[in-house]
């Protein structure tokens, strides 16, 4: 156990009373509660945390936040293991286990580092140039490349954590709880508006947590504490910490991932690990801060080279100094403040190198007063040190900044703090499609015009002083609340804060060196190992668009999405193209702002909750009686009911035979049912169905076909006239909602004058269908007051009465070709009805049958199933159902049936197929040809739509759609399958009881 040699004796927002042990790459260390993993590593003197993506160069911690490109770790083991986490964001907990990624066999000795020596062979676009040929080999290449690139390991086990969601609405969502965001939340909250304040950090304060700023003459963190307390006290303010707003979508819809338990060693059982908040905000205030840019100098990636603001944060917030000899390299004022803070905290700074000419003024004087050597108008031209920076070489810049000259100064160091200026975090603003404007003074894009109800405040809006951040925050919060309908009762004035006069930064995208060549690496994108030379090469090869350069060089890709490198990459590109930077635009900002786990996005929509499982009132009986279920949409329907040791084929054969020779019973509750009432109901049916309905008598049933206006079949079913103005329509199971929507669409949009109302009664009625020669006996045995005599209750009619003591509507319609009664009872009676019929049917050999037997039974009769025999390109004429198409009235789809195309005789038509070998069951979907040729192509003239073994006929049967099929009766065609050709004879589509005597008797 090491002793945290780089921990300062006092200060920081850590809890020294709560030490935490942790393991990094197999070694034990200690830190404190309040540390991030990165802070604890630095306190232990560890800078080397990973290897780079392509060259496998040693890499260290660069940042102290979300923008970290290098310090990616795999956290945890087993099911809770998670790759690609930023050590700069992982809160330390006792027992934390982390390993570096992208290094093999070990962090200090990495075989992949050979790539660094071979760099000249690994230019921009290398993968595209090398691994794409032959195309078939990419899969093998990709596998190897991914292992080498090593972006962590996905856990093998099932994720053991719980994730949850919350859908919320608010008046004002404030993103970011730095000075501007806190001010905005206060201003908005004081009006009584519903406010959500979300910040990705563990505590509010933003940049104030990492510096020594003052507000109103007192430490800024006092103000943060007061503001937070006031917000806590507000009933309508919701404060979310550890909550990253990662997506800004249309109509002010934003997504937040809250890390509820990631920081706990032992998360609770009930609490989710992460919670996804989906927020609909009337107004949004973005106070998302800014990200410091690196300077792009030669070998700027050695461990120990970090952002100045990050070093300041580690020293100030975590009391961990990054090193003993610090060199600062900057182009702007902020690094001076960072240097002063570092010195004050106890981290010695020896030299400060400023790209700008001779630094003057308060800040320079203050730094010099601490004995720091200040070198102006100069640049670092080289660094040394393999696993840790050891020294820098400094030369004077030429006046135009494109070269260096004069003697080389060597300075020893163990840390380089760099600052290339600050980039406002405009990601969310840009995701919302707000436009950006280029600020040439600060070399960055700032929000220009909002596209939604969005306000921007603070440094992300170009407020470069603390005082201005606070002012903008109060203004934005007040304006947002007012726009949401809330007016402040008390004036919300921003407290005063210092506003130092600033010297503008000097923008120099690529810092020149005295040594050029391919081995010289000025890294623009650390994570993807993209150098200035790569971008220059891309430009030389003709790439102009930033989007293309991004994809070609991979700059701005990966888990950090170029949070550090995007603007410098643009700058380098604008230099080499000699183009105005703003004219190049930016790459598109897309969600998520930072990576989001699949678990959080999925939430509880897993296992049984992944999709609703719909069940009928008889479901428990089916389960208890061994049914195997089939998914029909979201419904679970019995597929077949195997007896012990029975195969599916045997079970289905038995069920079919029972229905043909005795009686079967089917749960048909899922059938769509629509109640249609009104004086114009019959007119609606006449227009919706292809056949006529005017003459249908009360209590009679009729089969109908529904077309779209293009003439194609969309649904079929039996509709019954309950009373002159009252109909009961049935639809196919899968189309229940669609058909109701279809009727509503026509009535509401095209024929609003029709006096008709529809209501879904699909689930009002449970349906048990008795089918078979003994169906009448079973119904009688169950007890009914209905006269079942064929003359009293003929086929295609409906009777209302009692069945087994339950109020029932009984429809005598058949989908099997046998005598059938569809017994409908209120759903609450479904279970009792089923059991009563099963009991009453026992003496008659009643057999429950599932959807497979139902399919066989109807296929034997040549009855179509919409969606199986039809696919949206099939007309009633194609199905041979001309008799259902009225010649005398108009209906939806009629006009299209008159088009030459729908009249063609060579359209695909429904026919039956009989295989030469009666035991050969064709696969559904099989293609049909006139003759098999030795080699493709062979003209395809149709396909098999349904295919079963028919126990009734003792042979296989199939239905097919075949070009000019009806004229081919008796012809022999071929079905080419893998390894064989099946000969089939074209037959009638009805295979059994063609005159329908069985159902009508």
């Amino acid at each position: 156990m090491s002793t945290q040699p780089f921990r300062l004796p006092r200060g920081g927002r850590i809890d020294r009373a709560r030490p935490h042990r942790f393991i990094f790459n197999g070694r034990a260390y200690s830190g404190y509660a309040g540390d991030t993993l990165a802070a604890a590593l630095l306190a232990n003197g560890i800078h080397l945390v990973g290897r780079s993506f392509k060259y496998h160069r040693p890499r260290g911690i660069v940042t102290a936040g979300v923008e970290e490109p290098n310090a990616l770790v795999q956290l945890g083991v087993g099911a809770r293991s998670e790759p690609n986490l930023r050590a700069t964001q992982c809160e330390l907990y006792d027992g934390l286990i982390a390993t570096s990624q992208n290094c093999w066999p070990s962090l200090r000795f990495d075989l992949g580092a050979i790539n660094d020596r071979l760099a000249r062979f690994l230019p921009a676009g290398f993968y595209y140039k090398t691994f794409m040929w032959p195309p078939s080999a990419w899969m093998q290449y990709e596998h190897a490349i991914r292992r080498m690139a090593g972006l962590g390991t996905a856990p093998e086990e099932r994720d053991s954590d719980r994730y949850d969601k919350r859908l919320v609405h608010c008046d004002v969502l404030v993103v970011g709880a730095g000075p501007a965001g806190l001010a905005a939340a206060l201003a908005a909250g004081r009006t009584g508006a519903r406010v959500i304040l979300a910040d990705e950090q563990v505590e509010f304060g933003g940049s104030l947590l990492s510096g020594s700023a003052e507000i109103d003459g007192r430490p800024a963190l006092d103000w943060v504490a007061r503001a937070t307390a006031e917000l806590d006290w507000m009933a309508e303010a919701k404060l979310l910490r550890r909550a990253t707003v990662f997506g800004y979508y249309d109509h002010n819809y934003l997504a937040i991932v809250e890390r509820v338990a990631d920081h706990l060693a032992n998360p609770g059982e009930r609490e989710p690990r992460q919670r996804l908040w989906k927020v609909r905000a009337r107004q949004v205030v973005l106070a998302t801060g800014a990200i410091e840019r690196p300077l792009i100098f030669r070998d700027n990636d050695r461990p120990g080279i970090m952002l100045a603001g990050a070093a300041r944060a580690y020293a100030h917030r975590y009391a961990a100094v990054p090193g003993r000899r610090t060199v600062v390299f900057t182009n702007n004022d902020s690094a001076y403040a960072a240097a002063l803070d570092l010195i004050e905290a106890g981290g010695p700074v020896t030299t400060l190198i400023d790209i700008r000419a001779e630094p003057q003024g308060e800040l320079a004087d203050a730094v010099r007063a601490h004995g720091v050597e200040v070198i102006g108008g100069s640049a670092i031209v080289a660094t040394s040190g393999r696993h840790r920076v050891k020294g820098v070489e400094v030369m004077r810049l030429t006046p135009d900044g494109t070269g260096v000259a004069g003697p080389v100064k060597y300075r020893d160091c163990d840390v380089v703090c760099m600052s290339g200026g600050w980039t406002p975090a405009v990601h969310l603003f840009s995701q919302s499609r707000g436009t950006l404007a280029y600020d040439s003074t600060h070399g960055c894009f700032v929000p220009s015009r909002a596209a939604q109800a969005t306000h921007v405040a603070g440094i992300c809006n170009g407020a470069w002083t603390l005082a201005e951040c606070l002012r903008q925050g109060f203004t934005a919060g007040t304006a947002a609340a007012r726009a949401a309908g809330f007016v402040e009762v008390a004036a919300a004035a921003a407290p005063p804060a210092p506003e130092p006069t600033a010297t503008p930064p000097r923008i120099l995208w690529a810092v020149p060196s005295d040594r050029a060549g391919t081995t010289s690496k000025h890294f623009v994108d650390f994570q993807n190992d993209v150098t200035v030379a790569d971008i220059q090469l891309a430009a030389r090869e003709g790439y102009r668009s930033v989007e293309h350069v991004k994809r070609y060089t991979t700059s701005g890709m990966g888990t950090d999405q170029g949070k550090l490198g995007n603007i410098p990459a643009l700058g380098v590109l604008s230099d080499v193209l000699a183009a105005d930077l703003p004219s190049l635009g930016t790459t598109t900002f897309r969600p998520p702002y930072t990576p989001v786990s699949f678990g959080a996005l999925t939430g509880r929509d897993i296992d049984a909750l992944a999709d609703p499982i719909r069940v009928t009132p008889m479901h428990d009986w089916h389960v208890a009686n061994g049914a195997i279920f089939e998914d029909v949409g979201q419904w679970k329907r019995p597929h077949f009911y195997p007896r012990a040791g029975e195969t599916m084929r045997a079970a289905v054969d038995r069920e079919v035979t029972a229905a043909r020779t005795a009686v079967g019973i089917l749960d048909a509750s899922t059938l769509g049912k629509i109640d249609i009432q009104g004086p114009d109901a019959v007119t609606l049916l006449n227009r919706i169905y292809t056949n006529g309905w005017t003459t249908l008598e009360a209590a009679r049933c009729r089969y109908g076909l529904m077309l779209k206006d293009d003439g194609m079949v969309i649904d079929d079913g039996v509709t019954t006239r309950l009373a002159p103005d009252h109909f009961h329509m049935t639809t196919t199971t899968g189309n229940a909602a669609r058909v109701l929507g279809w009727l509503e669409e026509w009535v509401q949009t095209e024929w609003p004058d029709l006096r008709v109302y529809m209501a879904s009664v699909t689930e009002q009625w449970a349906v048990a269908t008795l089918s078979g020669p003994r169906a009448r006996d079973v119904l009688a045995a169950a007890g009914t007051d209905l006269d079942l005599a064929p003359t009293a209750f003929p086929s295609q009619s409906m009777r209302q009465g009692a069945v087994a003591g339950m109020p029932a509507r009984v429809f005598r319609v058949s989908f099997t070709g046998e005598l059938s009664y569809e017994v409908n009872v209120p759903a609450r009676c479904g279970g009792a009805l089923w059991e009563a019929l099963i009991a009453a049917g026992a003496p008659f050999g009643i057999t429950p049958y599932g959807t497979e037997a139902m399919h066989v039974l109807r296929a034997e009769k040549g009855f179509i199933i919409v969606g199986q025999e039809t696919d949206g390109t099939v007309t009633p004429l194609d199905l041979g159902l001309d008799r259902l198409v009225s010649k005398t009235k108009d209906f939806i789809g009629k006009r299209a049936l008159l088009r030459p195309d729908t009249q063609r005789s060579d359209r695909k038509q429904l026919v039956g197929l009989l295989t030469e070998d009666p035991n050969e069951v064709l696969p559904e979907g099989a293609q049909i040809v006139v003759e098999r040729r030795p080699e493709p192509p062979m003209p395809m003239i149709g396909h098999v739509t349904s295919s079963y073994f028919s126990p009734t006929l003792g042979r296989s049967i199939a239905l097919a759609l075949i070009v000019g099929g009806r004229a081919r009766h008796g012809e022999t065609l071929c079905v080419p399958l893998l390894g064989k050709t099946v000969k089939v004879e074209v037959a009638e589509s009805c295979f059994y009881d063609r005159d329908g005597a069985r159902a009508n008797g």
């Binding site: 499982i613 009104g678 109302y757 689930e763 609450r828 009792a832």
Partner: protein, 195 residues
């Protein structure tokens, strides 16, 4: 309506334990509530008058509101659609009286008592649970007792009716989705300790 021994509800305890009783929320099925879909035009004086005469109160004409009187309630579902609810087995009588009174008018009554069941959700955490899967703004400033809405909860279509400020809600859901929704509620309530 048949013998009660022949009745079964989608969430019958016998077939579908457990009851949802948690420290800060409880939910239970209210099976067999009488439900009628009543269609007619609110622009037609006679329709409103006749409905009031039968129900004893005026149908709500403000969108997404509920009128209640004793064990009868009418939920606004659409511009020409209401759901009339009543105690179990009273629906046939109400339906018949409505139909008789509405003869000659363009109106419709459909019994859907079995087409939906009701889950009553009550307790301080009820709103939080709904917010895990319902896109409505349920904040007391926006959604109060006497409000109703057709929307969705998780992946089920629902009618939501807020009863009181506890808050207590009635969720109307198709019986085929009831077990799914019940399982979803039990899961969503898991973080509120079992009483």
């Amino acid at each position: 309506m048949a013998d009660r021994t022949q009745w079964g509800s989608p969430l019958d305890a016998a077939s579908w334990p457990p009851r949802g009783i948690f420290a800060t929320v409880r939910f239970e099925e209210r099976p067999f509530v009488g439900k009628l879909i009543l269609r007619g035009s609110a622009d037609t004086r006679e329709f409103l008058d006749v409905s009031r005469a039968v129900l004893g109160f005026a149908l709500p004409t403000t969108a997404n509101t509920v009128a209640v009187d004793g064990d009868l309630a009418a939920l606004w579902l659409g511009p020409r659609e209401w759901m009339v609810t009543t105690t179990p087995e009273r629906e046939a009588d109400i339906a018949e009286r409505l139909c008789r009174a509405l003869v000659g008018q363009h109106a419709a009554v459909t019994d859907v008592s079995d087409g939906r069941t009701v889950i009553r959700l009550a307790g301080p955490s009820a709103r939080d649970i709904l917010m895990k899967g319902c896109p409505l703004d349920l904040h007391p400033r926006e959604f109060v007792p006497g409000r109703c809405a057709q929307s969705q909860l998780a992946r089920a279509q629902i009618i939501l009716h807020q009863i009181d400020e506890t808050p207590t809600y009635d969720l109307y859901v198709a019986p085929s989705f009831a077990r799914y929704l019940w399982a979803w509620l039990v899961d969503a309530a898991a973080e509120y300790a079992i009483a």
